[in-house]
Symmetry: C2
Subunit: 508 residues, 2 copies
């Protein structure tokens, strides 16, 4: 298979090995997409078996001694390679370290449990049933602890940072803690101030409901506006909106349609379409190769939040969105007046759900999860105490208490999917989105006016070469500094939210 002896060049050989693993991973992503959009419910066991088998062969491909030998041989010749090839080789080494650190039986066991636990979560969440979730989640945590310990040793870092490194290399606890500590102090009084500021606004007129068909047509329209190629993407409905790492020419993301809540699917579509543009613009010549992947989840989230939050809640874009909604849904045009759309979109949220949260509350939702999952991982928090710990922490941050688990600790799929160490990037992504967008609009004054026409081309003309096209061929720090001239800090975000939420004129 990989590393066929008929392939004489050591670099080409190791590229073939890691690209084969990349293709298997793309196949797994597609199967996971299918599990959430199409699969009959009785298919969960078999899908789990398939995913575990693919994980097993993939781990063998990139984590075996054969992989180590091929890597070492190619690394000896690194000085002869082009810079991008050297970067690709570095990413292969990183993938190897992650794969080799974790015993393959453990990896397969975790992959299998992910399928089961997601299926349990799907039922437990609407049933407000923590009991049936708790026991398998404890098993999952114990597997995750084993993985984290193994990776921590291989990477010489803390167990939690070791988990983060897989999703988000270059963004560990050392990078997150100062940002989150600052936000945890900065945001609550800001929220209070904005709430007072908005108290004088008129009550927004509610949007009427709309058919799934009309919402789906609008979602498609928005994806095209953002820049997706009609022959290369699809949007489907899934319980939890997500996008999958693309295969070239085949970008998929999902949203959720609620006939009584048109806002949700619009926001989810903008968010996932932003992720998907990053994937669609990755360099084709490095497709399936470690150096050709997205740089990490903080960068990824910056791309979704740039579209959904920073651009997507700008006055300019809302001036395009409002009449587009009126056209899509018909009926009384009054709710789609720009002032009402702005009033609705900018309103501070008083709910419980991260994916519905406003631009200021959002990072606090993330900080809550970050703290709880670190405590779960270390064992400081027992699984049985999670619902109460969640509700207490939420109440302390937001002054209101979740009514049930679907609005509390069972709202997200991540833990059911075995993902711990993933949440921080959502808030780090907010910071990066603001920092990138501030630079982009300073560099190109056409970006904001174009959004009024629903035209994202000037924005992507700025961001694609600086972020998307660089894939994983530079590290996180270099990517951020090359694009914005400075390391990542929360300052641009703080300027952005103060300006937007305290200084812009009220809707009228």
């Amino acid at each position: 298979m990989a590393g066929s002896p008929s392939q004489p060049d050591p670099f080409a050989r190791v590229v073939h090995r890691f690209a084969t693993a990349g293709k298997i991973s793309a196949a797994q992503m597609m199967l996971n997409w299918d599990a959430q959009t199409n699969m009959p419910r009785n298919g969960a066991w078999a899908r789990g078996e398939q995913m575990a088998a693919l994980t097993e062969v993939s781990a063998e491909l990139i984590g075996s001694t054969a992989a180590a030998d091929e890597l070492a041989e190619a690394e000896e010749l690194a000085p002869l390679l082009e810079p991008d090839e050297r970067a690709d080789l570095r990413e292969m080494r990183r993938a190897f370290v992650h794969a080799a650190a974790v015993p393959k039986d453990l990896q397969a066991q975790k992959s299998r449990l992910e399928q089961t636990l997601q299926s349990i979560w799907t039922t437990a969440k609407p049933a407000n049933d923590f009991k049936s979730f708790a026991r398998p989640f404890e098993q999952m945590l114990s597997l995750i602890r084993e993985v984290a310990a193994a990776k921590a040793q291989a990477l010489q870092t803390s167990p939690y940072s070791a988990l983060m490194d897989e999703f988000d290399p270059g963004v560990g606890e050392a990078e997150v803690d100062p940002v989150f500590d600052e936000l945890a102090v900065f945001l609550p009084p800001l929220i209070q101030q904005v709430r007072e500021h908005q108290a004088t606004w008129p009550r927004p007129a509610p949007f009427p409901g709309a058919s799934i068909e009309a919402q789906a047509a609008l979602a498609h329209r928005l994806a095209l506006a953002i820049g997706h190629d009609p022959d290369a993407f699809r949007i489907d409905a899934a319980p939890h909106p997500f996008s999958i790492p693309h295969s070239p020419g085949d970008v998929r993301f999902t949203t959720r349609y609620d006939v009584d809540d048109i806002q949700f699917s619009i926001m989810a579509t903008l968010h996932e379409a932003g992720h998907a543009m990053y994937e669609a613009n990755l360099p084709r010549e490095f497709a399936f190769r470690p150096g050709g992947m997205a740089r990490g989840m903080t960068v990824h989230e910056s791309q979704s939040l740039s579209v959904e939050m920073v651009a997507g809640r700008s006055r300019e874009f809302l001036a395009f969105l409002a009449p587009t909604m009126a056209h899509a849904f018909g009926g009384d045009p009054a709710p789609y007046a720009i002032a009402n759309v702005l009033n609705t979109w900018r309103r501070l949220d008083d709910g419980f759900i991260r994916v519905n949260a406003d631009e200021i509350s959002y990072p606090l939702h993330v900080i809550l999860r970050y703290r709880l999952e670190r405590a779960l991982l270390s064992g400081d928090l027992a699984v049985g105490d999670l619902p109460t710990a969640w509700d207490d922490a939420f109440e302390a941050m937001f002054g209101r208490r979740p009514p049930d688990l679907a609005h509390g600790c069972l709202q997200d799929i991540h833990w059911a999917a075995g993902m711990v160490g993933y949440f921080p990037n959502y808030a780090m992504g907010s910071m990066l989105a603001a920092q990138l967008f501030e630079c982009a609009t300073a560099d190109d004054h056409a970006i904001l006016p174009s959004l009024e026409q629903g035209d994202f081309r000037p924005y992507f003309a700025w961001v694609t070469p600086r972020v998307h096209a660089r894939a994983s061929l530079v590290d996180f720090k270099a990517l951020v500094e090359d694009a914005t001239g400075a390391p990542l800090t929360p300052e641009a975000y703080k300027r952005h939210v103060k300006r937007r939420y305290l200084e812009e004129p009220p809707p009228e």
Copy 2:
């Protein structure tokens, strides 16, 4: 990966290896299903890369020297195994011989070309464009010739029979030739006789068109009648109806909806639902293992044709189908009178399309393809001459000439999918369907009356233990003889079509 040294029992070790390959194959089936139902058109290249990667790792798993060593070790201990385990081991050996015979680069190259060529076929067929298809199809044939030569040597048989063996072990040219020679003589005069017989029938009233939604609801209703579990199957639309080897709990098949032709989707649904019942009833304890797969494509086709043709065009089933159609489509009930449905369903076909063909013409369509593809494989027929050779042969058999390629040599996806040696099973399956159904209805007199209620349970109660549950744990010959008390011959089919088409009373 497979064959982990921590697994001490040689049989368990080799089962793990082959079951891993079985799971990868199930993943490939799902990706292929997706390519035909969901994939954006620009996704073809990437999907081809993924399929080739999976084929490569799978071939390595079951065709490597490590596989050979593990197999040999397990085979030494075969006398200690249960009979079903020994059968499973025999099937592993067969899978090994197929996989080891073909160089992996060749396998991967073919897999990649399959994706491209199917995509070209999808465009070429409606465009009546043989030119863009011919060149890559020649490449495909040349790859298939290499595969066939390698397998012929390993299996000590002819190249064409070696290709058949992969799809249909136990059914080679030696089994097919006498049956097809007999049918080629028997069918044309029978068709003539039936045509004269039907000349006195009234013209059937055409069915009105119906929305895709109404047709899809009826397809779902029919799948339930046949016995599918609502939590374990799905029907989708695809250009060429197919069903995929199932994963336990997740059975998928497709049909095609044409608002002007309600008959097509009903027949395709019955056909694919029959295939899918076989897959759904395979023994779960052998899931993903070579011994747990369907016995081969002749048996598979017997299951689809039993439902679609033998049961599906019986007076009894049509007495259920006619009012069910009336209920599904509403409007004027006259076209759904039983006599008119019978008149329509039993009518000899005067078209050009295999999947639309009537029960008597169908085997001739297959014999045509069998002869042409053997000539293509041997090189006796040049690709450039195929359209004319097809049309000439069709005209000689049926007395009419295809108007275009979509009604001629580009009508089927098989060659584009790299499948040569596959077609014969369609006609061999007709023979087996008739032979099984004759025995079933002789054994259990409740089978036919139950079909009047749309109840297939007595039929499946007979066929499941004798066919489905035996999977590949017996060989083809034993399966047929155990189930029907005789080897496979065309006699039951000949009795069946003469009785149905010449002796049953006309519709009234």
